[in-house]
């Protein structure tokens, strides 16, 4: 494992209006690893993950202090363009949300938007390779021009992953990507995550302890807006330092 630092969160406070959602969070996320964020509902996992691609900008009342450094560059600086940031940091959402367009158009949208291809063949190539990377190509190769919303839930979620991959991101954020899926579809997504970490840095929010244990290299446990504990997954699950972490993993809270 390379151990190179990809994302560094330093003293991050986030406020929704008067309510503080995150308290002084410090977290290191390493390249080509899967980092999972776990914790009870409302603990700020999703808020934290949305700080990595500034999706919180969409929430008017959201304010933050502190730094989020990606490759050493503070993305909260005024000089960072959130739009170009989001091409480097892709996101997969809780509920599969394919565009109401064809499978092909779903993938092609990002590359078209950013002019990432030279000609039609080039674009076809991007679409096919993105679908292959997401392990979806064989299932949809005959339905490329049918609506993406006609796929099954698991396929839709992999379509969303393929769509995120098409713009060639460095980091992929996943906000409970399997919470709306059945166990078989979940297993497929987990396999996919395993493969994707070769090339991408992945941050995943999950409610499933087993999932965190299965897919992630590192785990961060959050509670009431504070980062309680972070470390290698095997250490957190076998030998947590904090009593709260212990309680959560063993099912006493949350």
């Amino acid at each position: 494992m390379s151990e190179s630092l990809k994302i560094a969160v330093k003293n991050l406070d986030v406020f929704y209006g008067k309510k503080q959602a995150l308290f002084d969070v410090n977290l290191n996320i390493f390249a080509n690893e899967v980092t999972s964020l776990i914790g009870p509902s409302g603990c700020g996992k999703s808020t934290l993950i949305k700080c990595f691609n500034r999706m919180n900008d969409l929430v008017e009342i959201c304010k933050y202090n502190g730094q989020v450094l990606i490759d050493g560059e503070n993305i909260n600086d005024a000089s960072t363009d959130p739009v170009s940031l989001r091409t480097r940091v892709g996101m997969v959402f809780q509920k599969p949300n394919p565009f109401p367009k064809s499978v092909y158009e779903n993938i092609a949208y990002g590359p078209k938007l950013h002019g990432m291809y030279k000609n039609k063949d080039d674009l076809d190539e991007i679409v096919v390779s993105s679908l292959q990377k997401a392990g979806l190509f064989n299932e949809v190769k005959d339905r490329l021009f049918e609506p993406g919303t006609g796929l099954s839930g698991g396929q839709q979620q992999r379509l969303c992953i393929a769509r995120a991959l098409a713009v060639n991101p460095e980091i992929i954020l996943m906000d409970e990507p399997c919470s709306a899926l059945d166990p078989i579809a979940t297993a497929k997504i987990e396999e996919l995550i395993e493969e994707l970490k070769e090339k991408y840095t992945i941050v995943i929010v999950t409610h499933s302890m087993q999932q965190a244990a299965r897919v992630s290299n590192r785990t961060a446990y959050m509670h009431m807006g504070e980062l309680v504990e972070t470390g290698l997954t095997k250490n957190i699950f076998s030998n947590p330092e904090h009593a709260k972490t212990q309680d959560y993993i063993t099912g006493r809270i949350g």
């Binding site: 170009s84 892709g90 565009f99 109401p100 990002g110």
Partner: protein, 405 residues
């Protein structure tokens, strides 16, 4: 147990009330439609009288005086009409339009000899009698005097009176003579006005909705705007007429009675409806789609134009067409800006003076001539057909755009 019986009973009762309400509404609608159609249908035909026209070789047809030539041929048919008043009574069975028709016929005629029976437009009084709208009492019928009735009876005996399609009703503008009055001018006026109303209010309304819904921050100012727009939708339409009068006529000094001004005024009136419909359509676009778009690196505006607007379009168009349909039937604001004048020319453009369909209906129902009654109903039929077509378009557009996944 009795509770369940009670509950079932009250459910049945409620269903019955609902059915009753629907039935009553449909019944009243049918009565209205029946009344309009049964009154207005006869206006699509009108009475024509046949005249034996004989013109010798050697006459230059296009230089003949249509009026005197037609009268001469009439006198040849009725040699017994000798006195001045008899002749006048005979002539007055025809509409002034008959001479125009005859003139057009002469101008278009190919040969140099005319010999045969030709039909010309009858007066509105005869039209009303022949259609049975005005009943015969002895030797008179409505405004047809006994001295005229003898000629009418002659025409009937010779089988030279008949109903033909009313080409004036849909082919000409207003006229003092009911038999020559038409609604084409009003249709043009309405079309120009509606087109202008749509072109101004649709982009303005949709952009306002986008701004209020997506681009501005929620604060006291945006709340104020929102409240005002909602209130504007409930402002009586005549007030918009006053606004149009003050702004477009008095301030910008645009031409009075022009459909441009009517359209702008109706556009102002439609604007709140479009804003409100567009806002609720935009609001109902699933935020997950917009998040996905933002997450891929689209800017806010790209997201709006690539996803929010296309997804909201069926709702926006439905609201717009409802607003426009209301504007088509609107009379009051047009009265204020002078689109209520008597205009005999078909407007050539939106700057020409014109009336609109509902205003034409308003004008005709106020006219004393009996023949305007059926023409008023006919104009209402045309207006209803317009509204029907608009609503069909709305349904079609919504279905078509919604099908796109």
């Amino acid at each position: 147990m009795s509770n369940i019986i009670q509950r079932n009973k009250s459910e049945k009762r409620f269903q019955f009330y609902g059915l009753l309400a629907v039935g009553l509404a449909i019944f009243l609608l049918l009565v209205l439609l029946f009344k309009i159609f049964s009154t207005g249908f006869s206006a699509f035909n009108q009475t024509y009288l046949g005249v034996k026209i004989q013109i010798e070789k050697g006459e230059n047809l296009s230089e003949l005086d249509a009026r005197s030539t037609l009268r001469k041929n009439l006198r040849n048919m009725f040699p017994e009409a000798q006195s001045r008043s008899d002749k006048k009574n005979l002539y007055s069975l025809f509409s002034p339009g008959a001479y125009i028709e005859f003139k057009e016929m002469l101008e278009a005629y190919d040969g140099d000899v005319i010999d045969g029976y030709y039909y010309f437009l009858a007066s509105d009084d005869l039209d009303m009698y022949f259609k049975g709208t005005v009943a015969r009492q002895g030797n008179s019928a409505g405004r047809i005097k006994p001295s005229q009735m003898k000629f009418v009876d002659e025409f009937v005996k010779m089988n030279l009176i008949e109903l033909q399609f009313n080409r004036y009703l849909l082919g000409s503008a207003d006229s003092r003579n009911p038999e020559m009055a038409g609604i084409l001018g009003a249709i043009y006026g309405s079309l120009f006005a509606i087109l202008i109303a749509f072109v101004t209010s649709f982009p303005l309304g949709v952009l306002t909705a986008i701004y209020l819904e997506k681009l501005t921050k929620q604060n006291a100012f945006s709340d104020l705007i929102e409240t005002n727009i909602n209130n504007l939708a409930a402002v009586p339409s005549i007030v918009f007429g006053l606004l149009g009068l003050a702004i477009f006529l008095n301030f910008f000094e645009l031409p009075r009675s022009a459909s441009l001004v009517g359209g702008l005024t109706l556009g102002l009136m439609t604007l709140p409806t479009i804003v409100i419909a567009s806002r609720s359509a935009i609001k109902s676009v699933p935020p997950s789609i917009e998040e996905a778009s933002i997450g891929l690196g689209s800017s806010k505006v790209q997201t709006i134009f690539n996803f929010t607007l296309p997804l909201a379009m069926p709702g926006i168009l439905t609201g717009t067409i409802i607003g426009i349909a209301r504007a088509i039937g609107e009379t009051a604001p047009l009265l204020m800006i002078g689109m209520v004048a008597f205009i005999v020319d078909i407007p050539q453009g939106p700057l020409d003076a014109s009336t609109a369909l509902p205003v034409q209906i308003f004008l005709w129902q106020d006219s004393p001539e009996r023949a305007f009654v059926e023409r008023t109903s006919a104009a209402i039929i045309v207006l209803l057909i317009f509204l029907f077509l608009l609503n069909i378009t709305a349904v079609y557009l919504r279905k078509k755009l919604e099908k796109k996944w």
